[in-house]
């Protein structure tokens, strides 16, 4: 079970890194003849078996957005051209739309791959930030004890009670609504770190508070180690396992948080492909009924989160869903 989860996650990371090579089309290229086009079928038989090919799609009824394959002229796929694994030139009868096209005629599959870079990257950086802040605050509280511990723990508990999505919403809404994508990335990563650290800090505090009573810490202190050195070299490494466990909780939560914020229009602008902005395009459900491939990012999110949960369950812990 754990292995299946790890395979899923490894596949997700590989696909994310190799996105520009795997994507048949640039994510932002609009194909004006292919608005809401269904997925292109890759055929292997034309009378007899032959190399993989497609039939060009032609819009036969613009009112119903009905497409039909033009079976008179098969087009072979082009492998390893223009730095892409596989594509079909538009002049030959393309585009190759493995998961159909969206309302602007952009390739859903290519956008899905590029989206993974923003969505997963943001979740990863948010998680790292939350772990860093949480380890620092928790370590400080646990090591210092006394009034500092009391104040920090109270504050941690308070932030922990708040429903995260509302805080994220309020913080994001307090900023100007239109921002450049890079600023949004930094802003969201900071908000995620701000929301995630209390969960981490509480556990780290408990571990550090109990570890500091152990003999090796006393020995270190007797040898003249500074508190900073004790904390960073001896006490925080003891929390590594705990931190890894927390990361598996935070990562799915942050993927979802990005999707949610972008979905409601407070995340990335819709020119940036992320899983959230792609889902937002699927928010008009009466259109999606005729174009179900627009829900593809939901599948991508599901697979990544399932991968994480499989690893958690396989490691003998209980997967729970952090809000949202």
């Amino acid at each position: 079970m754990k292995r299946a989860g790890l395979w899923l996650l490894a596949a997700a990371v590989l696909v994310t890194i190799a996105a520009p090579w795997l994507a048949p089309n640039p994510p932002d290229r609009r194909h004006p003849g292919s608005l809401y086009a269904p997925p292109t079928t890759v055929h292997l038989f034309d009378g007899g078996p032959r190399v993989p090919f497609i039939y060009p799609q032609r819009l036969v009824n613009p009112l119903e957005r009905r497409f039909e394959e033009d079976t008179s002229q098969p087009v072979s796929l082009r492998w390893f051209t223009e730095g892409r694994l596989v594509t079909v030139y538009e002049a030959d009868g393309g585009p190759l739309l493995l998961l159909g096209a969206d309302s602007l005629g952009r390739d859903t599959f290519s956008r899905l791959l590029y989206s993974a870079r923003t969505s997963l990257g943001l979740a990863l950086i948010g998680t790292l930030g939350a772990l860093l802040v949480g380890a620092f605050v928790g370590g400080l509280a646990g090591y210092a004890g006394g009034a500092i511990d009391h104040a920090l723990s109270r504050f941690t508990d308070f932030v922990l009670v708040l429903p995260a999505i509302y805080v994220a919403l309020a913080l994001r809404a307090a900023m100007p609504l239109v921002l450049p994508p890079a600023t949004v990335f930094v802003l969201l990563a900071s908000i995620f770190a701000l929301l995630g650290w209390p969960i981490v800090a509480r556990g780290v505090r408990a571990i550090v508070a109990s570890e500091r009573e152990r003999e090796y810490v006393t020995a270190g202190r007797a040898l003249g180690a500074t508190p900073w050195r004790l904390l960073t070299r001896h006490l925080l490494p003891a929390t590594a396992g705990y931190l890894a466990a927390q990361a598996t909780l935070l990562l799915p939560a942050f993927i979802m948080a990005e999707a949610t914020l972008s979905y409601v229009g407070l995340g990335f602008p819709d020119t940036v492909p992320t899983w959230g902005t792609m889902l937002q395009q699927a928010s008009n459900i009466s259109l999606v009924v005729d174009a179900p491939w627009m829900l593809a990012p939901a599948g991508a999110i599901f697979l990544v989160v399932l991968g994480v949960n499989l690893v958690v369950q396989g490691a003998g812990r209980t997967p729970v869903q952090l809000e949202p």
């Binding site: 708040l162 999505i165 809404a173 979802m256 999707a259 889902l279 999606v288 369950q313 869903q321």
Partner: protein, 321 residues
Amino acid sequence: MIRFLAQRLTFALLLVLVVSSTALFLTRLAPGDVTAQLGPFASATEIASTRARFDLDRSPGAQWATWLARTVRFDFGDSFLYNRPVRGLVLSAAVNTAVLAVAALALATLVGIPLGVFSGSRSGAGAAVIRAMSLVCLSVPPLLTSLLLLFIAASTRWFPAGGMTSADATTLGGSAWIADVATHLPLPVLALALPIAATFERLQSQSMTEALHQPFTHAALARGLSARDVILRHAWRVSLRPICGVYGLAIGALLSGSFVVEFVTAWPGLGRLMYEALRARDIYLVAGCAAMGGLFLAIGSVIGDLLLAAADPRVRERQAP
């Protein structure tokens, strides 16, 4: 007991105060204000009068002081968006959210806990299937569930796709109106309840397995009690403790989850209202929604504490005066 209640009440008041005040200041200090809603052609006097109406011409501190003085008398100010007092708006939205949340929590409890007891006390195909289903449900957060359910509803027409009432609901009488809402309820409730039910199932299953490995269950079995009695009357009671601990947190998850579900399925609850208010910088509506959210959280944590005390005598002993 009285001391305990007083403590919780102080905590609740403090939570509501801090949350709503923070929301007020955040909205006030954010760039732009509610006058942007007047449009680009608003005259200077119009803008000035709107600013005066929402105390935006005074310092944030002074505004907070007047707001607080009115709030303790249960006057939460006016909403710009709806041009109505905030109190009525927030109350009706809160009722809608509460209906959704209570139904989802009940469903999650009724489905999750028995399945957890079953899968935690047995090994076999049934337990494995339940575990797999839970893992899948845990990996589909409310945003995805509600989108998928909406998609299914729209393509099969088994359920109305979104909304709380039909378009002609205002013409319906009392019982017909309730029936109308009831047909709209399953979709958002299901979307909200599935991940929580799965969380309950996983926790219950794990703590059940742990409880069954403890000496007292062996002792009970040795005394000749049936396995059924041991599981349902002895082990289950002990295994409830972690569930009760999570119940208080589940209320927070419900609030967060209900925001997404309300947004996707167009349920007129607190989440949607808060979102609209935040975007429009409708300052008193933001503060009112935040206060109501804080109240929900406080109620949730009290319920969690009471459940914990009910399930674990040690907690009761400690809190007794």
